[in-house]
Symmetry: C2
Subunit: 209 residues, 2 copies
């Protein structure tokens, strides 16, 4: 089972590494980090780089596609090699997935038209404008599409997907292996629960503002 995770300049590392850590533990999984060019890709903070193990042309028909989000998504909203690769891969994939603003790229490539989908809480209006049927849930499945909310939601999405692919026991074993029994020290993980001042601060700072 080949899993292709798309890398691009200024992606958010955890959007990619969360699902990688879960999906790479599925039986017979082979994760390949792909990008337009070989080499290294820098994350949004510029403080981390990940190695590209194959170019897009080298992994044309993965079973699972994962598209992370991040500020670099903005540069991938026009048609081009990434959109062409996504459309072709999606035609043959078993699952096409995204984390955070990765769903904006899927939508821009035409893959989310009238599909139930989600994204980072600050990107939902834009996702709606691109033709998706926006659902404000952390993980949203629609046929073979799985989209998730911001950054850390990719872990929940990947675990749910692992359950669908390999059964509940395997997914639970992966969860235990990752000791994923979260205890956030604060309750500010969603705009519905964060203090209003924190929500405003994040909005003001954000590229979506």
């Amino acid at each position: 089972m080949q899993i292709a995770i798309l890398l691009y300049d200024r992606f958010t590392a955890l959007d990619a590494v969360g699902p990688y850590e879960v999906l790479s533990r599925l039986p017979d999984a082979k994760v390949t980090f792909v990008a337009e060019q070989a080499g290294l890709v820098r994350t949004d903070t510029r403080q981390l780089s990940l190695g590209v193990d194959a170019t897009l042309g080298e992994v044309e028909r993965p079973d699972i596609v994962v598209v992370p989000g991040g500020p670099g998504q903005v540069a991938l909203m026009q048609d081009g090699p990434v959109h062409a690769w996504l459309r072709n891969a999606h035609e043959h994939s078993t699952w096409t997935t995204s984390v955070c603003t990765g769903s904006l790229i899927l939508a821009a490539a035409g893959l989310l038209q009238d599909r139930r989908a989600t994204s980072n809480w600050q990107a939902l209006d834009q996702l709606r404008g691109l033709g998706a049927d926006v659902v404000e849930e952390r993980v949203v499945f629609d046929s073979k599409l799985a989209t998730s909310a911001g950054v850390t939601a990719g872990i929940d999405m990947a675990l749910a997907l692992a359950g669908k692919i390999a059964g509940e026991q395997v997914a639970q074993a992966i969860q235990l292996g990752l000791e994923y029994d979260p205890e956030p020290p604060f309750g500010a993980g969603s705009p519905a629960t964060a203090p209003a001042a924190v929500v405003e601060a994040v909005r003001a700072y954000s590229r979506f503002a």
Copy 2:
């Protein structure tokens, strides 16, 4: 504020990238991924590589040290350049931290003697044997040491640390930025809650068995 994250062959990616994603968002944070040699370091699955941005000798006095875990930890239990670097860095650090079996490396380097500390649930006996005062909690603070349980616990540890460093509002803004409002699809994230068959399967599979 310089944050050094130690990389080594066969580390677990999420152990490093979880704390990176949180701590890199602190005001004035500069994260540097360090290793004995420059180049790329491969993770435990061999399916992902991260770039090393500095050698150990180039970052001798970071403010924060993060030691991830992973199967490669086994090769770092003898005294050597990594232990020497850790002892020296710890002498000057503001915080010395670990995720998962990273605490076994800290303990082997002599930094956890009689200190309250934790690790992956399967490594607690070994940690105790190395002289630590083992506490079965997800995140454990003892003076300037912060250790955490397996893999994903590094996210919780880093958020708690962010709160101590920059205050609760900043930590909450980081949490909201990462939309860290976890909804695990299963309740199997700890040996206390996972079905017995799942716990046994993970034990049987594991290097700690």
